[in-house]
């Protein structure tokens, strides 16, 4: 199939095959970063080319694509990626989590539980969890190979020593399937528990460093912690000002020049569904 002068989903078939092989290997070794040969994409790397390449490699004509950025479907980044695939693959798009077969995301996991058969594609800026303390690639590879992950706790130690608690709140390190240490990309740690034993397939694409890694369905994903400082997610005193949700990740938004503010769901699809249900209830 040819869509608007491009090959289906923009990438040539050979590149897609190469990416699929990489993805299969990634699925076979949960949490392990598999390198791949980069293919130039018509967007700068900051736009999430790693995620786009993964999506391009797995998408088919019958797929329904949802793209979110910070939880919202209507940001510039999300809109342009959705348009890109609508144009180059002619696929249907949606904002509804439950209707999507593929969700490409930056910074969030949807609040609605994912189900079997869905694929969540993460855009990853920095894939290597050990990088912050170990700049040498040869050494980080060896550390992964030998499961030498002690320095990950050094980082949490520093957090507690400095802040009195584990202050890391995004891109919070996890261990996958009791084996590989993994960066979940800059999602809030609020979303970390959703990765654990999720029925959906989770794929991670890092464009700049040309790595793909994966968490297959129903795989254990454990957030690091200390016995006396257990892992905790963010929580809020208030509920969403728009839909009343008390269980979702909230963004603080400024509503006036006087600095008035309110807290609303970062997941716009979740929030809208709840608002619609509320007004329906009110009407009945």
């Amino acid at each position: 199939m040819n869509t608007g002068g491009y090959n289906f989903a923009y990438l040539d078939e050979q590149t897609k095959r190469m990416l699929r092989r990489t993805i299969l290997k990634a699925v076979a070794i949960p949490g392990y970063q598999v390198p791949f040969g980069d293919r130039e994409m018509p967007m700068p790397h900051g736009w999430g080319t790693g995620g786009i390449q993964v999506t391009a490699a797995i998408i088919g004509p019958d797929d329904v694509l949802k793209v979110i950025d910070q939880g919202a479907d209507d940001t510039t980044n999300a809109v342009s990626i959705r348009k890109f695939f609508a144009k180059t693959a002619g696929v249907a798009t949606t904002t509804r989590t439950e209707d999507a077969t593929i969700v490409q995301t930056r910074h969030r996991i949807p609040e609605k539980p994912l189900h079997e058969g869905q694929i969540l594609v993460y855009q990853v800026p920095i894939p290597e969890p050990l990088r912050w303390l170990e700049p040498r690639e040869t050494e980080t590879r060896k550390m992964h190979a030998l499961s030498e992950y002690g320095i990950m706790h050094v980082r949490l130690y520093e957090d507690i020593a400095t802040h009195g608690r584990i202050a890391t709140s995004y891109d919070y390190p996890v261990q996958v399937n009791d084996r590989y240490m993994m960066r979940p990309s800059p999602i809030p740690k609020f979303d970390n528990p959703k990765m654990d034993m999720n029925p959906a397939l989770q794929l991670f694409g890092a464009g700049r460093e040309k790595r793909i890694y994966a968490v297959p369905p129903y795989t254990k994903v454990k957030s690091l912690d200390f016995d006396d400082y257990p892992f905790e997610v963010q929580s809020w005193d208030q509920s969403c000002a728009l839909c009343g949700a008390g269980d979702s990740f909230l963004d603080e938004i400024i509503t006036s020049d006087r600095g008035d503010r309110m807290f609303v769901c970062s997941d716009s699809d979740y929030c809208q569904d709840r608002q619609a249900a509320r007004s329906k209830e009110a009407a009945e």
Binding site: L133, K142, L146, E148, G150, I151, H153, V154, L156, Y157, E158, I160, A161, T162, F226, D227, D228, Y229
Partner: protein
Amino acid sequence: MSAVDQPLLRVESLTRYFGARAACRDVSFDLWPGEVMGVVGESGSGKTTLLNCLSARLRPDAGRVLYQTRHEGVVDIYDLREAERRLLMRTDWGLVHQNPRDGLRMGVSAGANIGERLMAVGARHYGEIRDAASAWLGRVEIDLSRIDDRPRAFSGGMQQRLQIARNLVTAPRIVFMDEPTGGLDVSVQARLLDLLRELVRELHLSVVIVTHDLAVVRLLAHRLLVMRQGEVVEAGLTDQVLDDPQHPYTQLLVSSVLQA
């Protein structure tokens, strides 16, 4: 034969080339529990090469390094799988570098520097790790108020003491030291040497200490190896070697120190 009758480390005919040149040739010795072995010789004589071979960081071209493990008998450290070797390096052995930047993580606090080896072997209780770090800071005479400071802000002497604490926290049996007092003021050196002497005695540590400074080995080492152009030219008890040197090179070394 029980472990006490055996050396902790047995070094057999160790040889390492760089190109055609032997940086260290046919070196053999035993290191016993609680013993401090000094290795002296001028710059370029092969001391660091020997230490690197002993501490599992540089594979020799010939010869063996046999280590008496705690539970598994004697092993040739270069026959071990890499994972086993690296585990020993984090647990049973310590390494104090001449340059603290090579032996410390300058980007994290003193407490984290000490706690790292504990976390690397599975410690997962913050409070206990912190207590161990505090205790070790005290033992190496660094004020507890510095526990959350980065070593960058420390003096050279403090950095060396922090390196020592960072190594000793997992109760290693052997510590390898490469010029640990190099670059320090004389008074700072003296304090460090006193501290090392106490720790060696209290912890019954075995140490291989490499230095070009005979005053250091005079104070610390039980026995000496004198190296010249990669070979050991004289070996023996420290006092004997220094007070009654037999080899002309040792005589020269001792007399040049006396003149200095």
